[in-house]
């Protein structure tokens, strides 16, 4: 030990004697430093557009309406006690969960149908089925609004042809909720379809052949081969879609504006109404912050499964 420290001590003056620029150069040459420097612009953008607004929203949510006084968690307790907000929580969960399940199921079926098509026709159909996803939702939702509109509703016209009475698509709470979920499903299903299609294409054909020889029927192949092989893609797509659907704003804002009687409000539209339209920015910030713990729980649960499967090599 004594020898070792003597040697180490002996070396100190030599390294300390080198000019500082040498150390900087060495640092710059290290791959990790270089990687960090190259990622810095992105980190700056994330910091400016995500981290700063997030903490600013936390700060705002703890101020009074005039933003002059710190009120702690008063805004949150106030919101939780308010019936409208309880409705918003219920509606957001209902909207997100129902729409994501519908999108996942429709996307799954469409992906299978596309996958079964011969390669020639597949590209054409894939392009057509992706159209809802590439049209800006604000534009397509306006078209849907016309389809639902009480005076011009094409749906009601079609129902009338079959002798059915007009449906108050956006005027009744139940139908309005159905309408926003329908439009969100229409808009989002192609994304699931394209993700699932990619996953389906990555399942080796030989696994299906092996399963066919092992005695599997079509349904059993789906259950024992396709689904387990797609689990990670399904999880990640569902998580991503849950986050985006929970935070949805444009569809509800254009189609129902939260109505009738706040029965279609989501966190996003309600935060906008409270914060911007009613001028209570701190309360609006508190509404939008409620999404964070909910989504965090989903994210942790889903990503834990993904991580575990990745470790197992799937």
């Amino acid at each position: 030990m004594a020898d070792g420290s003597a040697i180490a001590a002996g070396r100190v003056p030599a390294t300390a004697g080198q000019p500082r620029t040498g150390t900087l150069k060495r640092m710059a040459r290290r791959r990790s430093t270089l990687a960090f420097l190259m990622a810095l612009p992105l980190l700056a953008v994330i910091a400016g557009l995500v981290i700063y607004p997030f903490f600013y929203a936390i700060e705002l949510s703890m101020l009074n309406k005039r933003m002059t006084r710190f009120v702690g968690i008063d805004n949150f307790t106030f919101l939780l006690g308010r019936e409208t907000f309880q409705l918003v929580i219920f509606q957001s969960v209902l909207f997100a969960v129902t729409a994501v399940i519908a999108k996942a199921l429709i996307g799954f079926v469409l992906a299978h149908v596309l996958h079964a098509l011969p390669a020639k026709g597949q590209r054409k159909w894939r392009g057509m089925l992706l159209v809802p996803w590439v049209i800006p939702p604000a534009v397509s939702t306006l078209a849907w609004w016309w389809l639902f509109d009480p005076s011009y509703s094409a749906f009601n016209w079609m129902l009338a042809v079959f002798g059915a009475g007009p449906v108050p698509w956006l005027g009744d709470a139940g139908w309005a909720r159905f309408a926003v979920i329908l439009v969100n499903t229409w808009y989002g299903a192609p994304f699931f379809m394209i993700m699932y299609l990619a996953a389906l294409k990555s399942v080796p054909d030989q696994l299906y052949e092996a399963a066919a020889i092992d005695g599997a029927t079509g349904i059993q192949k789906l259950r024992y081969v396709t689904l387990p092989m797609m689990r990670n893609i399904i999880s990640i797509t569902v998580l991503f879609s849950l986050i985006v659907t929970f935070a949805n704003f444009d569809i509800v804002r254009i189609l129902t504006n939260g109505g009738p009687q706040d029965r279609t409000h989501l966190f996003g539209t309600y935060a906008f109404q409270v914060g911007i339209q009613s001028g209570d920015i701190p309360l609006g910030a508190a509404v939008s912050l409620f999404m964070f713990p909910l989504l965090a729980v989903f994210a942790v649960l889903i990503l834990r499964g993904v991580n575990q499967r990745t470790k197992e090599g799937l």
């Binding site: 080796p204 052949e209 092996a210 066919a212 020889i213 090599g313």
Partner: protein
């Protein structure tokens, strides 16, 4: 256990491309038959038609006496080992092997007994709880074979099962497959492009080319008595030498006259067979192992000596390969490693004329 019968099997793809052109084949119970041929010869397509993974365009396939043309793979009672193993990555080795039995609703104890038995035969008992990703190529191949064995099917189908393994492991697994067949005695159809695998494993080899069967027979028969130029060239390594020449009636005996004026006498006992072809162009075929140095006290009858200067000398340890060119045809000779051989230096070689083949250059049939 069952016989497999193929009658006039045709496989035609869209656009009229025929992969298999009406083949007939009878595979006996317990037999190990290897389909061998170059890429695109139709061997894998034939196997996949037996499995039911490809529809047949016309003809009949029977397994165990009953026609299975329209029966789906799961009801044919066959098991298949794929080139890249096709193990289910999300299942453990045990689950992979048990999958077919689970689907067929076998009792749990029976499944366990069969998997344990197969694991013992293949020496993979310690791997049963692992996922395929944690296995080496050789171990995966064993599991794939295990999956086939536990089913105790009528027929085993192997689709180039050793192609993804390195050379050393391939030899080892080849022995394993032979051992397994000797134990379970299930009728086996095995596809490979490697003629060494075909020769070492098969009871009978089926050589295919361009969608037709060129020859069927035991390995040694194919080696010694090929019926076409293709089989003669495909079986054996290094491949048989083919030299264009002419069959000349030299008075008392028939002679093969090769380029450079080399004249090799045809053995008297085979002269009758070739007499009708005297005066015609022929292809002279001889394997490298029958083109050797002249050994002291060589008692082989019908040796015909000629001189050649090798351009390339390849010492292999147990033998030395000499490559020389005869008017544009590359010729390979296999000599004793003790034989002094140097590139460019002429030396005397002996052709064992009792082992030569004469081929009609038009029909490419062995005369």
């Amino acid at each position: 256990m069952a016989q497999v019968t193929l009658r006039k099997i045709v496989k035609e793809y869209e656009g009229g491309v025929q992969a298999v052109k009406g083949i007939d084949l009878d595979i006996d119970d317990h037999e190990f038959v290897v389909l061998v041929g170059p890429s695109g010869c139709g061997k894998s397509t034939t196997l996949r038609m037996i499995a039911g993974l490809e529809e047949i365009t016309s003809g009949d396939i029977a397994i165990g006496g009953s026609i299975v043309n329209d029966i789906p793979p799961r009801d044919r009672d066959i098991a298949m080992v794929f080139q890249n193993y096709a193990l289910y990555p999300h299942m453990t080795v045990f689950e992979n092997m048990a999958f077919g039995l689970t689907l067929r609703k076998f009792p749990k104890e029976e499944i366990k007994r069969r998997v344990d038995n197969a694991a013992r035969i293949l020496d993979i008992g310690t791997l049963l709880e692992r996922k395929p990703k944690a296995l080496s190529g050789g171990q995966r191949q064993r599991v794939a074979m295990g999956r086939a064995i536990v089913r105790d099917p009528k027929v085993f189908l192997f689709d180039e099962p050793l192609s993804n393994l390195d050379a050393k492991l391939r030899v080892q697994m080849r022995t394993e497959i032979k051992k397994v067949h000797q134990t379970v005695r299930t009728t086996t159809v095995y596809v490979t492009h490697d003629q060494v695998e075909a020769m070492t494993l098969a009871d009978r080899v089926v050589v295919m080319n361009h969608g037709v069967i060129e020859q069927v027979g035991p390995p040694t028969e194919l080696y010694h008595h090929p019926v076409t130029k293709f089989v003669a060239g495909f079986i054996g390594s290094p491949a048989m030498n083919f030299i264009p020449g002419r069959l000349v009636n030299g008075g008392a005996a028939l002679n093969v006259v090769l380029p450079d004026g080399i004249t090799l006498p045809v053995p008297a006992e085979r002269a009758g067979r070739y007499a009708a072809h005297a005066g015609r162009e022929i292809l002279f075929g001889i394997r490298p192992e029958h083109l050797t140095e002249i050994r002291p006290n060589d008692h082989r009858p019908h040796l015909a000596a000629f001189e050649a200067a090798p351009e390339v000398v390849e010492p292999m340890g147990m033998e030395t390969l000499l490559h020389f060119w005869m008017q544009g045809n590359e010729i390979c000779a296999r000599v004793d490693p003790a034989t002094p051989a140097e590139p460019g230096v002429k030396q005397t070689l002996a052709a064992d004329m009792s082992q030569m083949h004469l081929i009609d250059p038009q029909t490419e049939k062995v005369l």
